[in-house]
C-alpha cells in the first residue's frame, strides 16, 4: 500500500487530504512544516509521495523541496506542491526545485485523483 506525507500548517487541510487519500487506499502521516517533515522522512523509510503546502512557518514548502531533493535517498519520492493562487506566479521556482506536479487549493477529489495519476502514485 502506498504511503504519503502530508505537509501543511493547517490541520483542516491535512485532514481533508488525509481523508481523500484514505478513501483511495493510501495511508498517510502528517507534518505541520518543512522542518518537521524532514524529521519524519528521516525516520520513516517508505514514503512514496509528499504533498507540500507552500506557506508554512519555520520552514516553507519551497525550502523543504530544495533540501529533500539534495538527498539522493528521496530521489524516487513524488512531490506535489499544494499552492494557492497567491503562489501561482512562483510555481516555476517550485518546478525548478524538483517538484513533480502542483495542485491549487481548493481542489476537488477528481482533480486530486488526476494529479496522483499524473505522478504515477495511483493508476
Amino acid at each position: 500500500m502506498p504511503k504519503a506525507l502530508i505537509i501543511d500548517d493547517s490541520s483542516t487541510v491535512r485532514s481533508i487530504i488525509s481523508k481523500m487519500l484514505t478513501s483511495w487506499g493510501i495511508a498517510s502521516i502528517q507534518a505541520c512544516n518543512g522542518q518537521e517533515a524532514l524529521q519524519k522522512l528521516s525516520t520513516e523509510c517508505d514514503i512514496q509521495l509528499a504533498l507540500v503546502d507552500w506557506n508554512m512557518p519555520i520552514m516553507n514548502g519551497l525550502e523543504f523541496v530544495k533540501q529533500v531533493r539534495q538527498e539522493s535517498s528521496f530521489k524516487e519520492m513524488r512531490i506535489i506542491m499544494v499552492t494557492t493562487e497567491t503562489e501561482m506566479h512562483q510555481v516555476v521556482s517550485a518546478l525548478e526545485a524538483g517538484v513533480d506536479e502542483y495542485i491549487m487549493k481548493p481542489f476537488t477529489e477528481e482533480i486530486f485523483k488526476e494529479k496522483l495519476n499524473m505522478v504515477g502514485v495511483i493508476g
Binding site: D9, T12, N55, P57, T84, H89
Partner: protein
Amino acid sequence: MSELDETIKEFLVESLENLEQLDRELLALESDPTKIETINTIFRIVHTVKGTCGFFDFRKLEKVSHVGENLLDSLRSQKIAVTEVIITTLLRLSDTLRELLANIEESGCEGDGDYSELVGLLTSLNEQKITLTSEAISINSKSEGSVDESSVVLLKTQVSEEGQDDELQRMFYAAQSEWQNASSLEAPGAAAVPESSQIGAAENQAPSTVADGSESPKVSESKKSELSESSLRVDVNLLDKLMNLVGELVLARNQILQFTKSQNDGEFASTSQRLNLITSELQEGVMRTRMQPISTVWNKLPRIVRDIAHSCGKKVVLEMQGKETELDKTIIEAIKDPLTHVIRNSVDHGIESPEKRLAAGKGAEGVLVMRAFHEGGQVVIEISDDGAGLNTERIRAKALEKGLITSDKAASMGEAEVNRLIFLPGFSTAEQITNISGRGVGMDVVRSNIERIGGAVDVASNPGKGAKFTIKIPLTLAIIPALIVTTNNNRYAIPQVNLLELVRIEGAQLKQSIERIQGSDFYRLRGKILPLVYLDEQLGLSAANSTKSGGGILNLVVVRADNHQFGLVVDAIHDTEEIVVKPLGRLLKGISAFAGATIMGDGQVALILDIVGMARKAQIAKKEAAAKHEESRSNDEGKTSERKKMFVFELGTNKRAAVPLDQVYRLEEFPVQALESAGDHIVVQYRDGILPLVDLRGIYGEPPEISEGSLRAFVHLSGDRFVGFVVERILDIVEQCVNVERPYPKQGLVGSAVIQDKVTDLLDLSAILQLAELSPKHSFDAREAR
C-alpha cells in the same frame, strides 16, 4: 455529509485559534510596523483561512479573506507601508472573520451580513501603492519639473518637525495628489515617468527580495508544535462530568470515613484510609485538568485596551505579569466581564490624555499593568494604572448627592473608605457612563459578579499617580469551605467567604441588645447597628415578624454581602467543612436564597445559602439606612454617639475657644512677678524646670500687656515637654458631640463648633506651637520637671 461536518468543525476550531493570534500579531505590528516576521505571520493566518475556506462553500469568508490577503501581500512585499488606518482595518477584518465563523458555528451558514464596505476599504488601501520610504520622497522632490516647489518644502519641514508616521503619511498623500493634479495639468508626460518607475521597481524587486524563503524560524511556534505532541484536546463536557463524578466520590468517601469511625475493624480502617488518600489525589488531579492559564482571558485585553485608547485619544501600554497563573475554567469564564470592565474603566477614567500627562510631567503613554499571582489559596489579580487616581472629593460629593451616605458619614469617612463608594449600587450614573465604560454597567456590577464567585474587589488610589484595583478570587468553585448551621431541623451551608463572626446572645443581654426600629430587629454589635435576618422567616418556614426572643438564646452568624453586614439568626451553629458544590435542581434554581446544594457526610442534602441574594431579598440596605437615619436623629437630640470632653475658655471678649480635655495636663495660675524672659519667649519656673508660655490671646491679634495680677494658663504636654498656654478666663469642661465646621481658614484653628449653644473656636495646639517656634525641640524636657 457528516464527515464534512467534522472537517468544518475542525476548520472552525483552527481558524478561531488563529484569529486570536491574529489580533495579538496586529497589535505587535502596530508597535513595530517594520517587523517583517510579524507581517509574514499575519499574512499566513489570513492566507490559511482563505486557502482552507475554499474547500467549503463559504463565499463571504473567501471574499473578505481574499482582499485581506492581497493587502497583506502588498505589505509583505513592502509595496505599501503599515499605517494606523491599515492596522485598524485589519483588526476589523479579524472581527469580521470571527463573526462569519461564529455564524457558521451557530447555523452552518455565513448569515446575510453585508461586508462590501470592508472589502472596498481593504481593496482601496491596497491600491494606494505608495512606498513611504525616504527614497520615494526624494524621487518626488527631485522631479522638479512636475512638483510644485512650495509643497515639497512644506512636506520636508513637516516631516522634520512632526516626525510621526501618521502626519507624515497624511502630508505625503496631500503632496502626492497635489503633485498628480499639477502634473496632469502642466506636464503629464514628465509626471508619469517617476511614478511608474517607482512602482515598477517595487514590483520587480518584490519577488526576489521578499519571497517566501525569507521567513525565519520563530521560537513561539516551534514551542507550540512541541506542545502539540504531549497534549490533546478534551471535550469540556467530559471534564465537567469527571468533576461531578469526583464530587460524588468525595461525598461517598466522606460517608465511608464516617462509617469507619463506628467500626472496630483495623483492616477496614486502613483500606478506607487508603481510599481517602487516593480520592484526594484524584480530586486534585481532575481539578487541575480544569485549570486554565489566566492568559486565556487576558489575551483579548490588548485589543480592547487599544480600541478604547484609540476612541478616546489616549496612548496606553498594557503590561502583563503572571500570564501563566492558573484558574478553574468556570472562574475564568466568570471573571471575563468584570475584568474587561475594570480595564475599560482604567483606560477611560484613570489614564489621562497625552496632553494632560505631559503637563503633569508624565510620559505621553499611560501604563496599565495587570498582575496575577497565587496567594494563600486564592488568585490575586491587580490592575494598576499610572493615571490621575480617583477624585476622592468628587466621589464623596456624588455619593452624598445621590443619598448613598449621610453628610455626617461623609465627613467622617477616610479617603480609602470614600474611594470604595464607587462599588455601591447606584453610584455610576448615566451621565458618567460614557459609551466606553458604560454599556449600562457600573463598578457595582463588577463587585457583585466577583462576590458571586466568592471573590472580593478593592481599590487603592494615589492622587496624581494612579489607581490600583485588586481582585481576589478562589482557585475553584467546585469545593469550598462552609459553615454548617441548622434551622427548623434542616441543615444549611454558609460559604466561608461570607462569614465575619459568630455571636451568641443569652438571657438578659438578649432583651437589652435587640432594638426594634421601623418594624425590623437590630442588634448593636460593639456600638454598630446590625440588621437581623431570621433564616426560618426568609425561607418561609415560619411567619414573619413573630417575636423570637422567647427561647432565651440567639445564635447569630454575622455575614457580609455587597457592602453590608447583617446578622443571620439560626437555631444552631455547627462545624466548618469542605463541601462539594452541586448545582441546584430546576425547581430550586429560581430561589434567590440558595446558591447550590451539597451532600453531607451522612448522605443528607444541605442547601448552600446565597448570602448576597438573601441580603437583596431582605432589603438589608434599606433597613440599614432606616436604622442609621433613626440613629442620627437621636444623635441630634444628644442621646448617644461619640461624645467628647472639651476644655472651654475665653481668649478675650466674646472669644470662646476650646481644646479636647485630654490635651490639657494641668491648670495653673502664675503671678506676673514670676515671669521671666528667655530669648524670644516668656518663661516661668515650674516644678524645678523652665516652662515656656504661649499667650493664646495672640491668635486674634496682639496679646494684652501683662502688668499685674496673675496669668491663667493650662499646661500641655507636647512630645515629652511641657508648654503653658495663657488664656483670659477658664470657662468650663463640657461633654458633648462636636461637629467641626470650617467657616474660614485660620492658622492655629482646627475649625469651630457649637459648644453650649455658642460658637467656639477649636484650637490646633501643635500648629500654634509651630507658629511660636515652640515645637518639641524648643520647650524644656518634661522629665526634668517631674
